[in-house]
């Protein structure tokens, strides 16, 4: 796998927020058809790293290559256009808009009437209805309902459904199973594996190493804005990886020396 | 570098720079005799009155709200002071007028806190209502103090001179001292800063943020009303437009003084210096013979420049705003 050129290549990335050093010289490769677990404690820099990948933050130093090409401009619009879909914890849905409108937010299907582009509500409704049914939302929820009325799990389902529905190359999931019931959680994890099998790159962020070890091909561990471990799940057990997190990278240094 | 950054951390830093630049400029292009006792004394007098209002405004902005009604409250309290003197005498009129100001602040604070409404809307309503009451109450007539009332010791205390210094200046300095102590060294001040900075966290630590906000609105209105009394004690004659647009000058002064609308940050000394800048330019423009309308334009420009500059300064100093 390592001989194929990586789909996303991060080289010596640094990011500062004011005087706060959020990412420290991070280098990591991600390949298509791979499910990578990105693990670390709160504040380790996992979310910051993926926020760079999906265009929300611009790195202070270092390079990001997508499909072999250097990324020069960072904006969510460009990332989405390139096929990088992100399911984030706290953002992604506007409470005041209907499910259908949220579903297509930023990439609305158009229907031209006398040359003027109008929203294609028919497509918006049918597609989002299909997805919310597939994800088992309550029967009395329709695509025209405002997101405000949905429960935490239902909101997550809309976000994941949206990411799955559009044909993407990369799906980044930030703590996708938070606030979900056991059944919903299994469903989400199955989906992640399915996406990988379809040839997509899936980056799965969590702090539950045991959960992700079962799913992922490879695990990247972060601590204090640094990458401290990058190992395939075949080469290390979940317990070993947990020990790395507990030691906060000191173990790796010891093993390296 | 680090020490400059340290200095810039204090919210009033921008206004210190502003005052220094302004005084240098006025000294270099001195057409009208800026450094004369007469000019300085006038500027300081009116700066003090605006500063009283701006300090109240600064407190409200620190609590992450805004008060657009201060110009009307200033006018209403001033007119109440003059009008009530006939029936209550000077001391009674002062108390009654300040009570009216406090009620204005209390009502608005209650509407913001209990009604859960944006303070901009509530105090916009206040701006109209209190101005309207001025019109309806006075019917557009001019009111005056009697000769005896002008000579009253209390009138002299608010509007005259004490030890050769104008009373307005002394009152301003006194209020600055009191409010600074309240903000920096009391529990209420701590709660106020916490409420503006992070109301959720403040509430979770047991701060009664609703009470803090109501008290702040009352303080702001009382300060505006007090400024009205100080103005009219000096020149006891009312007109219906008294205090018109003063809310804009007060907000400008507070913003120049380093109050960012993101709450939790602000400086009382900054507000005073901001008031000094605004008033000085009014004098300089008049002295240069510019039409008075240029003053309005000028305050607008300064307001925009100040908010951008202070925001950049705060970000540079490492604040998350």
């Amino acid at each position: 796998m390592s001989d194929a050129h990586p789909l996303i290549q991060v080289k010596n990335l640094d990011l500062y927020f004011g005087s706060f050093h959020a990412l420290k010289d991070v280098s990591v490769d991600f390949h298509a058809g791979e499910l990578v677990g990105l693990v670390g404690d709160n504040g380790a820099g996992k979310t910051t790293l993926i926020r760079v990948l999906c265009g929300i933050h611009k790195p202070s130093k270092g390079e990001v290559y997508f499909d072999g090409e250097l990324v020069t401009e960072f904006h969510p619009k460009l990332a989405i256009d390139q096929g990088i879909e992100t399911i984030q914890q706290s953002v992604g849905l506007c409470d005041n808009l209907s499910i259908a409108r949220n579903f297509y937010l930023g990439r609305e299907p158009m229907k031209k009437i006398v040359g003027i582009p109008f929203l294609d509500f028919k497509q918006m409704r049918s597609m989002s209805t299909k997805v919310i049914r597939a994800f088992g939302l309550r029967d009395n929820v329709s695509a025209d309902d405002e997101v405000e009325r949905l429960s935490g799990g239902e909101r997550q389902s809309v976000k994941i459904g949206r990411a799955v529905e559009f044909k993407n190359r990369v799906v980044i999931m930030d703590e996708p199973t938070n606030h979900l019931s056991v059944r919903e959680r299994e469903h989400v994890n199955e989906l992640a594996v399915q996406l990988k099998e379809q040839g997509l790159l899936v980056i799965y962020i969590t702090h539950d190493i045991f959960q992700v070890h079962k799913l992922a091909d490879r695990v990247v561990i972060m601590e204090n804005g640094e990458k401290i471990e990058d190992a395939s799940t075949d080469s290390m057990t979940a317990e070993q990886l947990e020990e790395v997190i507990r030691q906060g990278g000191r173990l790796v240094e010891k093993m390296g020396s | 570098m680090t020490s400059t950054r340290q200095l810039a951390k204090s919210a009033g830093f921008g206004s210190v720079v502003g005052v220094a630049l302004m005084l240098t400029a006025f000294t270099l292009i001195d057409f009208s005799g800026w450094w004369t006792a007469r000019t300085i004394s006038n500027v300081v007098h009116f700066s003090s009155i605006l500063a009283l209002i701006a300090m109240g405004q600064a407190l409200v902005i620190i609590s992450k709200e805004i008060d657009l009604s201060v110009g009307s409250v200033y006018g209403l309290t001033g007119i109440a002071f003059i009008t009530f003197e006939h029936s209550l005498g000077v001391p009674g009129a002062v108390i009654a007028a300040l009570a009216i100001a406090a009620v204005c602040g209390l009502l608005q604070g209650l509407a913001v806190v209990r009604g859960g409404l944006p303070s901009m809307i509530v105090t916009l309503g206040g701006l109209f209502t209190f101005r309207g009451i001025i019109y309806v109450w006075t019917g557009g007539s001019v009111r005056n103090f009697s000769e005896a009332a002008r000579e009253n010791w209390l009138t002299k205390l608010f509007g005259g001179e004490v030890f050769g210094i104008e009373a307005a200046v002394l009152w301003m300095l006194l209020m600055l001292a009191i409010l600074s102590v309240v903000l920096k060294f009391t529990r209420f001040g701590n709660h106020l800063l916490a409420t503006g900075g992070a109301s959720d966290s403040a509430e979770s630590r047991g701060v009664r943020i609703d009470r803090v906000k109501i008290i702040t609105f009352v303080m702001c209105s009382v300060m505006a009303g007090f400024a009205g009394i100080v103005t009219l004690a000096d020149q006891p004659q009312t007109h219906v437009t008294i205090g018109d647009l003063l809310e804009l000058e007060a907000i400008s002064a507070a913003v120049i003084g380093g109050c960012l609308l993101s709450g939790g940050r602000g400086s009382l000394i900054g507000a005073v210096l901001g008031a000094f800048i605004v008033t000085s330019f009014r004098y300089e423009l008049i002295a240069l013979g510019a039409p008075s309308s240029w003053f309005i334009t000028f305050v607008g420009v300064v307001l925009i420049v100040a908010i951008i500059f202070n925001q950049k300064l705060a970000r540079w100093a490492g604040h998350n705003v």
Partner: protein, 330 residues
């Protein structure tokens, strides 16, 4: 159980409140004014005032929809009116009107640019431009009024730019042509807001700018456009008012920004952004104009309007909040 049927309706249409208020007020005004309020001449005047205030209100509603605010519109209104009057007699009324609307749009762009580029609160930035352009307007006129001589006010251009009433048959006084512009703007903006991608983006930005940003929406551009449209509409309002009156001085449009914001609040627009009703905001403008006119025809001292306006603004905001709260309770 009418309760249960009504709730979803109110939830989707926050403007219902203002429609009920408008109907009640119309009935009350008609019943108590002995024909002084509800005659065709007065109604026509109210519609003319609604037209110019309404255009401004529509623009402010859009900006409010993005979660920002524009309180400079009163000065924009005045500047555009003066530019129109200045150029109309010298060049041509249509070119003058275009120039005036462009100036409005430029003021909007100025506000929008500063707000989005510097990340400063729009309340302060537009407060600044409110003063800047008010001062300029007074300085431009140096205390005098700009006007178009009455005999020159013939011709179609003057007519269509608010100069006269149309549909005036028999005893019906007709409606000012400015009202046509209002209806036109309302229809276009409603279509844009409800049926086009920009509307979706605008409401998304107001609802949660972070979420909108994460979905690839250029939040700054959306806001900038809203400010430009707002400035242009306030400018158009100024042109139509100047067209109606034929003259204006430096204080033209003063305090109208406050009435426009009040109209938005009355019409069920949420100041936090994301939820606006254009038709509701217009009804708000109509209600305010109606009240003002009622006080005039009933010979109440016009100063009471100010007191009422203040109280109405606060209670409208409170009522709107309570109504929403009720509608969203399960």
């Amino acid at each position: 159980m009418a309760d249960a049927a009504f709730k979803p309706l109110v939830r989707k249409h926050s403007e219902i409140g203002i429609f009920l208020i408008a109907i009640l007020l119309i009935v009350f005004f008609a019943a108590t004014s002995e024909g002084r309020w509800n005659n065709s001449y007065n109604i026509s005047t109210i519609l003319q005032i609604t037209a110019t205030l309404g255009l401004m209100t529509l623009g402010v509603a859009l900006v409010v929809g993005t979660g920002e605010i524009d309180i400079s519109v009163g000065s924009t209104f005045g500047m555009s009116a003066l530019i129109y009057l200045f150029l109309a007699v010298r060049v041509d009324p249509f070119i003058a009107a275009t120039a005036a609307v462009c100036v409005g749009a430029l003021i909007g762009a100025f506000n929008g640019y500063l707000v989005t580029k510097t990340g400063t609160p729009s309340l302060i930035i537009t407060l600044g431009s409110l003063m800047i352009f008010r001062g300029l307007a007074i300085a431009l006129t140096s205390g005098f009024a700009f006007s178009i001589p009455y005999k020159e006010r013939g011709g179609f251009s003057y007519f269509i730019l608010g100069g006269d009433n149309m549909f005036n048959f028999g005893t019906f006084a007709g409606v000012n042509t400015g009202f046509l512009w209002l209806i036109f703007a309302l229809v276009v903006l409603t279509v844009v807001l409800k049926l086009m991608p920009y509307g979706n983006h605008l409401l998304a930005v107001g609802g949660s700018s972070e979420s909108a940003h994460s979905r690839g929406i250029r939040v700054d551009r959306v806001k900038l456009k809203a400010f430009i449209i707002c400035g242009a509409l306030a400018g158009l309002g100024g042109v139509l008012e100047a067209g109606k009156l034929g003259s204006a001085d430096g204080s033209m449009g003063r305090l109208m920004e406050l009435q426009a914001i009040a109209s938005c609040v009355l019409g069920g627009c949420l100041l936090a952004g994301g939820r606006i009703s254009l038709i509701g905001a217009l009804m708000g403008a109509f209600v305010l104009s109606s009240i003002q006119s009622y006080l005039v025809v009933m010979a109440v001292r016009p100063q009471w309007f100010m007191v009422l306006l203040g109280i109405i603004v606060v209670f409208a905001a409170l009522g709107d909040k309570k109504l929403r709260h009720w509608a969203h309770k399960h």
